[in-house]
């Protein structure tokens, strides 16, 4: 166990040395990536700092609950699509009903009269 740790230490020491002598282009690219990452944080902080109190709280909440917010947006979209579809479908059915009544030979009162259907069936049997 002791020998294992010593060997690991020696290897790590060599690896540390390799890190010290890395290619300058790679080091520059890594530094560039770091600046970008930090700039992203600063930009977000500036955005939040510029917003007034309640808006800042809201923005902070959204930032920390992005997954939840996305789910809420998707759910709302589905719900709205359902409601709209239902509305259009209902309207179409009503239009069809009106058209049927207007085009029918019988007056609309005939369909509301419960005894009319029975009378019609009996009359047609004779």
């Amino acid at each position: 166990m002791r020998q294992e740790k010593d060997t690991a230490k020696e290897i790590v020491r060599m690896l540390d040395e390799s890190v010290e002598h890395m290619d300058a282009r790679i080091v520059a690219k890594l530094a560039d990536s770091r600046y970008r990452a930090v700039a992203a944080v600063n930009a977000h902080a500036m955005q939040i700092a510029g917003a007034p109190g309640l808006l800042r709280l809201f923005s902070d909440y959204i930032h920390h609950h992005r997954a939840l917010m996305m789910s809420a947006v998707v759910l709302c979209t589905i719900l709205m699509a359902f409601v709209l579809t239902q509305q259009f479908y209902g309207q179409e059915a009503m239009e069809q009903g009106d058209a049927f009544l207007l085009a029918s030979e019988l007056p609309p009162q005939a369909y509301l009269d419960k005894g009319f259907n029975t009378w019609l069936e009996q009359a047609s049997q004779h």
């Binding site: 294992e4 060599m14 540390d16 040395e17 970008r36």
Partner: protein, 198 residues
């Protein structure tokens, strides 16, 4: 809650090791740079508000996941490449290519440098290649436990396995590395000699 300066300091501290660690895994410097950059951005965007003490664990977790995503994409790409290349078969003599042999051959030509420096750079290159040759989980365990200096519990959390597995992976990794180095004629004592002065 930590500041942008703390994040910057942390990234400056780990970026080179993260790059090397990724390069050992993906064996492509450009891909490794992209992966490290992605991991840095993810850490900054999602976890910059966390305490700085949590950064090492979070960053390693993100880095491992980003590497995993890369491998998944590579797998799909390789599948298509294999399918397409089966239509146009060329000479694949490079299949039997051993990077360690190439390294030894290449380094012999480099007679301009002082001997000690050459020997040291050779040893480092052999270690790096040996690390690349390790199975993924062993390499991960070795790098996190010994190079990133995480304890067994932290390493287990990052790797998503038990502490016992971490110990096993670490032990196997060290033995495998020692064996590869010994095969290349480098013993532990020589390793200490060719390393940097403490």
């Amino acid at each position: 809650m930590s500041t942008a300066q703390e994040l910057s300091d942390f990234l400056a501290q780990v970026e080179r090791r993260a790059f090397k660690q990724t390069a050992y895994a993906v064996r492509d410097d450009h891909a490794a740079l992209d992966i490290v950059q992605d991991a840095m951005l993810k850490l900054a965007e999602k976890y910059s508000q966390r305490p700085a003490s949590e950064y090492p664990m979070l960053f390693q977790r993100i880095l491992q996941n980003t590497m995993r995503d890369y491998w998944r994409r590579q797998k799909v790409r390789n599948l298509w490449t294999t399918l397409l290349s089966s239509f146009s078969r060329g000479n694949d003599d490079d299949d039997e290519h051993d990077p360690l042999e190439t390294l030894m051959g290449d380094s012999e030509d480099d007679s301009q440098d002082p001997f000690a420096q050459l020997e040291r750079s050779q040893t480092i290159a052999i270690i790096e290649l040996a690390l690349q040759k390790l199975p993924t989980r062993q390499r991960q365990a070795f790098v996190l436990r010994y190079w990133e200096d995480m304890d067994v519990a932290e390493t287990a959390t990052v790797m998503g396995c038990s502490e016992g597995s971490v110990k096993t992976h670490c032990s196997r990794a060290v033995h495998a590395l020692a064996l590869i180095l010994e095969k290349q004629g480098i013993r532990k004592e020589e390793l200490g000699k060719s390393g940097v002065e403490p």
